[in-house]
C-alpha cells in the first residue's frame, strides 16, 4: 500500500499578471520504505508540488486534486488535522539550512518543541530524546550543540539538525527538498547517507526533490522527471537512467558529467530557456527546445502513458513507436 498517493494535483498562484499554474495534473505515489526522486529545473514545479502536499503553499497559491496520506485527503483536511500530521508522520527537510532554522532560538528548543507538540512528553524526556537523535545524525558533541544557536553551527551541521528534526517522531514520509544543494560536496555525501539510513532503519518513505541526477541515482528507487509543472517521465531509476525515453530526460542525462566519460570537449547543454509558466508554448511545453520535435508536438500536448517497460512517459515520439 502506498504511503502517499497524489492524484491530479494542480497548483495555481494568483499573481498581479493573472493566474499561473505552477503544477499541472501531477499524479504519483510512493510506497512504504521507498525512495522516489523528483528531478527538474528550478521553476519546474517540483518544490511547489510537495509544499502543496504539506499545505504550506504561499497565501496566493491554491491546490486542487487529491492527496491521500493514509486515509486522509491532505488537500481537504483542516488546519488542525494537518498540524497533527506535519512534523509527526509527515515531515520535510528544506533546501537552505542557513535560513530554515529560527535564528533567535536555541537548536535544542527547536527540536524539543516537536516532541512536546506531538509526543506529549515532558521537557526532560524531550531533551534526552532530542540529544539521542542529534547523536544519531552524527552530530559530534551533541549535548553542547543542543544549547547552541543556529548561527553557531556550520551549514552541514544545521542540515543534520533539520534531518534530526524530521526524524524525531518516526515519520512515515520524509520529503527532502534539495537537502544537499547548499552544502559542500563532502558534506553532501554524508547527508545523503543519513537519509538512506533513515529510510532503511525506520522503513520511512522518502521523496527526494533535486536537480542533481547523481543524488537520485545514488538514493532513489524510482524517479519522476518534471518539466514546466508536469510530470514527463516516471519509472524505475535504473531503467530511466539506462534507457531514458523522454527527450528532456535524455537531455538532462547528457548534461550530467560522468566520471567514466573520457571524451574531451565542451559539456553539452539543453539549448534554450526553461519556459515562462505564464506563456507556455502550445502542445508539448518542451517542443521549442526538443531536438526531435515533430509537427504534432506543436499543436497537441502528449499524454503521460504507460510504456512497455512499465514506466510512464509523455512524448509522442516514444508513445508512437
Amino acid at each position: 500500500m502506498s504511503v502517499l498517493d497524489i492524484k491530479n494535483l494542480t497548483v495555481r498562484f494568483a499573481t498581479a499578471d493573472g493566474e499561473v499554474a505552477a503544477v499541472s495534473d501531477v499524479s504519483l505515489s510512493v510506497g512504504k520504505g521507498e525512495c522516489l526522486g523528483i528531478v527538474g529545473e528550478s521553476g519546474s514545479g517540483k518544490s511547489q508540488t510537495f509544499l502543496a502536499v504539506l499545505g504550506l503553499l504561499a497565501p496566493n497559491g491554491r491546490a486542487t486534486g487529491e492527496v491521500m496520506f493514509g486515509n486522509t485527503n491532505l488537500l481537504a483536511a483542516d488546519e488542525k488535522t494537518l498540524n497533527g500530521l506535519r512534523g509527526d508522520k509527515l515531515t520535510m527537510v528544506f533546501q537552505d539550512p542557513m535560513t530554515s532554522l529560527t535564528p533567535h532560538m536555541r537548536v535544542g528548543r527547536q527540536l524539543t518543541e516537536v516532541l512536546i507538540r506531538h509526543r506529549n512528553v515532558n521537557a526532560a524526556a524531550a531533551r534526552d530524546q532530542a540529544i539521542a537523535m542529534l547523536r544519531r545524525v552524527q552530530i559530534p558533541e551533541a549535548e553542547r550543540r543542543f544549547d547552541m544557536y543556529p548561527f553557531e553551527l556550520s551549514g552541514g551541521l544545521r542540515q543534520r539538525v533539520m534531518i534530526a528534526m524530521a526524524m524525531l517522531c518516526g515519520p512515515k514520509l520524509i520529503i527532502a527538498d534539495e537537502p544537499t544543494t547548499a552544502l559542500d560536496v563532502t558534506v553532501q555525501a554524508q547527508i545523503l547517507d543519513l537519509i538512506r539510513r533513515a529510510k532503511d532503519e525506520l522503513n520511512t518513505a522518502v521523496i527526494l526533490i533535486t536537480h542533481d541526477l547523481g543524488v537520485v541515482a545514488g538514493l532513489a528507487d524510482r524517479v519522476g522527471v518534471m518539466y514546466a509543472g508536469r510530470l514527463v517521465e516516471l519509472g524505475d531509476v535504473r531503467q530511466i537512467f539506462n534507457a531514458p525515453r523522454h527527450p528532456y530526460t535524455k537531455g538532462l542525462l547528457a548534461c550530467t558529467p560522468r566520471l567514466d566519460d573520457t571524451t574531451v570537449g565542451t559539456m553539452p547543454t539543453i539549448p534554450g530557456q526553461p519556459p515562462n509558466l505564464q506563456r507556455l508554448p502550445t502542445g508539448c511545453a518542451y517542443h521549442p527546445r526538443c531536438p526531435a520535435v515533430m509537427e504534432l508536438c506543436r499543436v497537441e500536448r502528449p499524454p503521460l502513458l504507460a510504456t512497455p517497460t512499465g514506466s510512464l512517459n509523455a512524448c509522442f515520439l516514444e508513445n508512437a513507436s
Binding site: 498562484f13 499578471d17 528550478s42 514545479g45 504561499a58 497559491g61 528544506f94 535564528p103
Partner: protein, 303 residues
C-alpha cells in the same frame, strides 16, 4: 532580513517569468501601478489640486490678498459675491487664499525635496561608489545628523536667519536628505559589485561618468518612491513652521498658515479651519497612496 531566498514561495513559480518577458522594468511598474486603485486616485486628485493651485487663482474674481471692503468680516459662502468658500475674518476670499496657499505649500514641498534629492543622491552615490575612508566619513556625518533633532534644527535656522521663503526650503531640504543618502548608498553598494559596473570600470569609465551613467539610472526607482514620500513630509514640516509662526509671512500664505488662522476662530467659524485642512489632508493622502503604490509597483514581491 533573511528571507531573500530562491526558494521563496512565489519565487520558484515566477522567476522564469521575469527572465523571458523582455518588458522593461518601467513598463511593468507602470502597468502594475495602473491596477492599484488607490494610487491612481491619488495621482488624479493630486493632478487636479496641482492644476487648481497653479491656474485656479487666475480665474477667480478675488486675489488672495485682496480685501472685500464691503464685507470686512468672515462671510459664509456666497456665490453672488464670488466668494465660493466665503471669506476670512478680514474679508479676504477663502478659496483664493486656499489655492494660493496650496501653490506655496506644494512649491516648498517640491523645491525642498529637490534640494534634499540633490544632496542625498550625491552623498549617497559617492559614499557607496567610492567607499573606503570617504564612505566612512560621510556616513559618520549622516549618523551624527540623525541624532540631532532636525525639526529643532530647522527652527533654529529660521530664527537665526529670519523668515525667508528661499531659506525655508533650503533649510528643510538640508535636513531631509539624510534618509535619501542612506538609501542611495545602500543601493549603490549592491550595484557596485554587479558585472555591468565592473565592465564599465574595466573599459576605462571615470568615476563621475560611471555614477551618472550606470549607478543613478538604476537607483532611480527607489529614489522616486522616496521623493513621493518626502514631498508630503516637507509640506507637513512647512505647515508646522507656519503654524508656529515661523513660516511664510503675511500677506503670503500657505496651508499651514491658513490652518493656524482658522484655528484662532475655531469656535465662531470652523469653516476657515476645515477648508484649508481638507485640501492639505487630501494632498498628503494622495502623495502617500501614490508613494505606496509606486513602491509596490517597482518591487512586486513586497506585497
Amino acid at each position: 532580513m533573511t528571507s531573500t531566498n530562491l526558494a521563496s514561495p512565489h519565487g520558484a513559480a515566477l522567476d522564469s517569468a521575469a527572465e523571458v518577458q523582455g518588458r522593461s522594468l518601467w513598463q511593468d511598474a507602470w502597468r502594475r501601478l495602473r491596477t492599484n486603485r488607490a494610487a491612481v486616485v491619488g495621482l488624479v486628485v493630486l493632478g487636479l489640486i496641482a492644476v487648481a493651485a497653479a491656474l485656479g487663482p487666475l480665474f477667480l474674481p478675488w486675489t488672495y490678498d485682496q480685501i472685500d471692503w464691503d464685507h470686512v468680516e468672515a462671510l459664509p459662502p456666497d456665490f453672488a459675491n464670488g466668494h465660493y468658500f466665503g471669506t476670512d475674518s478680514i474679508g479676504r476670499d477663502l478659496l483664493a487664499r486656499t489655492l494660493f496657499g496650496g501653490r506655496i505649500s506644494l512649491m516648498v514641498g517640491i523645491l525642498a525635496t529637490f534640494v534634499a534629492l540633490t544632496i542625498g543622491v550625491t552623498v549617497g552615490a559617492v559614499a557607496g561608489y567610492v567607499g573606503g575612508r570617504t564612505d566612512q566619513l560621510l556616513m559618520r556625518f549622516v549618523d551624527l545628523m540623525y541624532s540631532v533633532p532636525l525639526t529643532f534644527f530647522v527652527i533654529i535656522l529660521m530664527v537665526v536667519f529670519g523668515r525667508n521663503f528661499i531659506l525655508m526650503f533650503l533649510a528643510i531640504g538640508a535636513v531631509e536628505w539624510l534618509t535619501m543618502a542612506r538609501i542611495v548608498r545602500g543601493q549603490t553598494l549592491t550595484l557596485r559589485s554587479k558585472e555591468f559596473i565592473e565592465a564599465a570600470r574595466a573599459s576605462g569609465g571615470s568615476t563621475p561618468a560611471i555614477i551618472f551613467r550606470h549607478i543613478l539610472p538604476n537607483v532611480l526607482g527607489v529614489v522616486m518612491v522616496y521623493v513621493t514620500l518626502t514631498i508630503p513630509q516637507v509640506i507637513l514640516l512647512e505647515s508646522f513652521l507656519s503654524f508656529l509662526g515661523l513660516g511664510i509671512q503675511e500677506p503670503m500664505t500657505s496651508w499651514g498658515m491658513l490652518i493656524n488662522d482658522g484655528a484662532a476662530e475655531l469656535e465662531i467659524n470652523p469653516r476657515t479651519l476645515i477648508i484649508p485642512a481638507a485640501f492639505m489632508t487630501a494632498t498628503l493622502f494622495c502623495f502617500n497612496f501614490l508613494g505606496d503604490g509606486l513602491r509596490d509597483a517597482l518591487d512586486p514581491k513586497d506585497r
